[in-house]
Symmetry: C2
Subunit: 417 residues, 2 copies
């Protein structure tokens, strides 16, 4: 019960703080971010020391170097946190925008305007920079934030939580507006997922397992983010050089991110000309290829792909390859196996382009461009809190606007119905 | 397992149908609704007979007349179903609208456009007209629908399902686009709530228990609707006649609906002048009043109210009354007890009006007008599928637009990142 009341109390304090934060001006919210940036510098040694303790502990627990790398708050990571704060601080205000207005038949004047969601909870994994990035986006959109990072980053996150509270206080805002959860056990996490009436939205940021567990256990509204099993389909009429550039970029420019391609589908009529060229470029770039039977008949250097490969998000320099009979088979494959994130067609055929755009059931559908563009910054919405792969509330990159809801304000002169 | 596969298979067929429905033109979707309207006439005797069987069964089970009344498909209900179909059929197309467009820094051209959600599931209670209303809104917004009504209305709903399928077929659409679920046991309902990857959104329409059970058991995204514990706050500066008109209208014009008022809060400085006038009008209108100590000191005819009254949605001719010290106490009371639906202030003070608008955390906030206006038709959005009391995706009345999501379409000329 002690832990139960800690989580609930922390979230309730954030909810209380959310009321005044929602009324804070753009200038005040912006000032909070700039104060947090200054406080990061002020507490840098303390932060590095706490982070070293986290890293030492992770090493003891046998974590690999990739994990340690994500956990590390280096000078470079600190700079990127500060750049992130500055970027969000310079954003246009997402609040107060009047989206619609009308005089009702009764004479009542109505406006529909953007207001904060209230309390946004985020559950995330090792990277401590998410603590600062998420806090910045929540503050700037007028939302209180309840942040639960991983056990391994707890020392770092607690220092960051202190830094954030200091910045909030210095800007005249309630320091409870951003809460860093100190309890990282499973029971606390489950409790957080079920605080209906306190948490307005819960966003899991991390791997497949974290997202699955959140969707299954949460009773508060959830936005699914991040999983990206993205496809490139090379149509019969494709420009071979363009197709090669796109698949090499989509697979290899940054294999660990969610907008990287995981499967290449190739029309049978171009496969014999396209696959040898693309395979050579990919293999030269360090990529391992796993092909179906028809792809391997053309490029025997590919390992065999099985059904499991079609649904795997490798997040690595591995690419699954399949030859399809036609565009319909490609679309069917994608709608069956994709995580509804980003898919691309390479084609010179107008009808193929329009069919692909219409029938692919994903957040972002590309013609003749790399899936790597699916990103808040690239889409012109500034920093993002994640990329939604569901259809409710937000789809695709989620920026400040996606952290708002609407409210109807109606003014009358005694009208009744 | 038999039942399990029935629910899943039915939903999968709807998902399959959703792909072609999403591509259907406004004319085709509209034609389907008009064909359904004609098919209702064609099958009227069959429908009335099935409905009589449902009613006989409900009587046998000891259901009261109010229940039977909601269950009954009378000539008048049939007409209202047909009017509803005609109204939705004349709506502006919610699909295809381009909400935003830009050329990205890379040169890629981006548009963000409205597309259907996919498969919308609705769980509802006795009224069979919901079957037709919900089907109409889903078809017109390009969504497949999976409709689960109550056991008591099953015979009526099955006839309606047949009528809807006939209309869809006659318009050239897949008859599986709207599925009426034949199994109404708890296990089937739970299975429906957990069809992640098939159901894109689940909307419960009905009482508190249905909504609570859905929120607790569903793993697919849910939109909470309907619960309306609405408040009228009469400020110190209020016009007494206006305040009386508004509370009488908000409480008594239709006590059983979600936008009816359930609690009246009165500033202490006006209570002695306002309450006797308002109480008389309310009591003359057939209302029972339950007051706190201060209200009863002014109007001893009120029964005593307890804490439970503040959180009760009576949906009846009962009103809770409380005297507050100031507007802050009124706002605190409302934000604590309301279901975040609709609240009104009656005031002549500008600052009070603006404070109430800013700090009340509900979908619709009124100044000097009745809460009864919160309604899709009144708000100019046409027929509604419900009134969302949550903040995610949709807030307030949900019309056709709220049954859509967005999709980014990006066209390039070989751009990579």
């Amino acid at each position: 019960m002690c832990e139960a009341s800690y989580i609930r109390n922390t979230a309730l304090k954030a909810q209380g703080a959310s009321l005044s934060l929602a009324q804070a001006s753009w200038h005040t919210r912006r000032e909070a971010l700039l104060r947090i940036s200054a406080a990061l510098d002020e507490h840098r040694e303390e932060l590095f020391k706490a982070n070293e303790a986290d890293i030492a502990c992770a090493r003891e627990n046998g974590r690999n170097e990739a994990f340690i790398d994500r956990l590390r708050v280096s000078e470079k990571v600190l700079t990127s946190m500060k750049n992130g704060l500055a970027e969000v601080a310079s954003s246009k205000d997402p609040l107060g925008e009047v989206i619609y207005g009308a005089t009702l038949k009764s004479g009542v004047k109505m406006i529909k305007k953007r207001v904060p969601l209230g309390v946004v909870a985020i559950i995330y994994e090792a990277r401590p920079n998410v603590t600062v990035d998420a806090a910045a986006l929540c503050i700037m959109s007028g939302n209180a934030a309840v942040l639960k990072g991983s056990r391994e980053a707890l020392n770092s996150n607690l220092v960051l939580g202190k830094v954030i509270s200091q910045g909030l206080s210095q800007a005249g805002l309630d320091p409870h507006s951003v809460a860093v959860i100190e309890k990282t056990d499973r029971a606390s996490t489950t409790e957080l997922m079920r605080l209906n009436g306190i948490i307005d939205v819960l966003i899991p940021r991390g791997g497949k397992e974290l997202i699955k567990s959140t969707v299954e256990n949460a009773t508060v509204p959830v936005i699914e983010t991040g999983a990206g099993n993205c496809h490139i389909y090379v149509d019969a009429s494709a420009d071979i050089k363009m197709g090669t550039n796109i698949i090499v970029n989509a697979k290899l420019s940054r294999p660990s991110v969610c907008n990287a391609a995981e499967t290449l589908l190739v029309h049978k009529d171009i496969a014999e000309r396209f696959l040898p060229v693309a395979a050579e470029a990919l293999i030269n770039g360090g990529c391992t290829l796993k092909g179906d039977e028809r792809a391997r008949a053309i490029c025997p250097e590919m390992a065999p792909a099985c059904n499991e490969d079609w649904e795997t998000e490798y997040l690595d320099t591995i690419l699954a390859v399949r030859v399809v009979d036609n565009i319909d088979e490609a679309i069917e494959h994608i709608n069956k196996y994709s995580t509804k994130h980003s898919e691309a067609i390479v084609t010179r055929d107008f009808d193929s382009a329009k069919k692909f755009e219409a029938l692919i059931n994903s957040a972002a559908v590309y013609v003749n461009a790399s899936t790597r563009f699916t990103d808040g910054g690239e889409f012109g919405m500034g920093a993002e809190i994640g990329i939604s792969t569901q259809k409710l509330h937000a789809r695709g990159p989620m920026g400040l606007t996606e952290l708002t809801t609407v409210k109807y304000i109606l003014e009358g002169n005694g009208e009744v119905r």
